[in-house]
C-alpha cells in the first residue's frame, strides 16, 4: 500500500505547518479531521480489515473442504 503522512495541526503550529508545506513544494492545503473523527477513521479501518480477514478465513475453509472432496473423488 502507498505510504501516507499525517500532519497534526494545532492553533499554535498551523502557520509553521503551512510554511513547511510551501517550502517543500507541496500545495498549502490539508484535509482535516478532529481528534474524534480520526479515532473513528482508525476504528472503521480496523473493522474493514477484520471483516476482510473473516471473509478470507471462510473462503479458505470452503476451499479446504471442497478441494479435499475433489481429491477424494479422483
Amino acid at each position: 500500500m502507498e505510504k501516507i503522512h499525517w500532519h497534526i495541526i494545532t492553533s499554535e503550529n498551523a502557520e509553521e505547518v503551512f510554511k513547511k508545506l510551501e517550502a517543500d513544494g507541496i500545495d498549502p492545503v490539508l484535509w482535516g479531521l478532529t481528534d474524534k473523527d480520526f479515532e473513528l477513521l482508525a476504528k472503521n479501518f480496523a473493522q474493514i480489515r477484520n471483516k476482510m480477514i473473516e471473509t478470507n478465513k471462510i473462503l479458505e475453509k470452503y476451499k479446504e473442504y471442497y478441494e479435499s472432496e475433489e481429491e477424494k473423488d479422483e
Partner: protein
C-alpha cells in the same frame, strides 16, 4: 373299478403337479428374497459410508467453527486494544496532540504505517520473517498482532 383307479391316478398326478408348482414357487420366492437381501446389504453399507462421511463433515464443521470463533475473538481484542489506545484512563488524544504535537504526529504516522501493513496482510500478503519471529512487544505490529505476529503471546 377303473373309474376309481383313474380318479386316484388323477388325484395323485394333480397332487404331484401341485407340489411341483409349489416347490417351484418357493424357489422363485427364495431367489427374490436373496436378491432383496443383497440389495438391503448394499443399501446398508452405502448408508454406513454416508453416515461416516456426515460424521466427518460434522466434525470438520465444528473444528472450522471453533477456529472462526478464535479468530473473531482475537480480532475483537485487536479492536478493543485500539479503543484503549485512544481512551485508556480517560486519555484525550486531542489534548495530548496539542501538548506534544511532534510526538503524537510521529506515533500517528507509525501507527498508520502499521495499519496499512495490516491491510496488506488481510488482503493475503505473506508475513515477513521478522513478523513471524516477533515475540516481544517492541517487535510486533501493535495494530493487528493477531494476524501479523503468530508467535506473539500477549504478556
Amino acid at each position: 373299478m377303473l373309474g376309481i383307479r383313474l380318479f386316484f391316478i388323477g388325484l395323485i398326478a394333480t397332487a404331484l403337479a401341485g407340489g411341483g408348482f409349489y416347490v417351484f414357487k418357493l424357489q422363485k420366492d427364495n431367489a427374490i428374497l436373496k436378491a432383496n437381501a443383497i440389495k438391503m446389504e448394499s443399501a446398508i453399507s452405502e448408508q454406513k459410508v454416508l453416515i461416516e462421511n456426515q460424521e466427518k463433515d460434522f466434525k470438520a464443521i465444528l473444528t472450522a467453527n471453533a477456529e472462526m470463533n478464535d479468530l473473531v475473538n482475537n480480532l475483537k481484542k485487536d479492536l478493543q486494544d485500539l479503543d484503549k489506545r485512544f481512551n485508556k484512563k480517560n486519555r484525550d488524544v486531542g489534548k495530548l496532540a496539542i501538548e506534544k504535537t511532534k510526538v503524537i504526529e510521529r506515533i500517528t504516522n507509525s501507527a498508520g504505517d502499521k495499519a496499512a501493513r495490516c491491510m496488506e496482510i488481510a488482503s493475503g500478503s505473506p508475513l515477513t520473517e521478522a513478523e513471524i519471529n516477533a515475540t516481544k512487544k517492541s517487535e510486533i505490529n501493535t495494530e493487528c498482532p493477531s494476524i501479523a505476529n503468530p508467535n506473539y503471546i500477549p504478556y
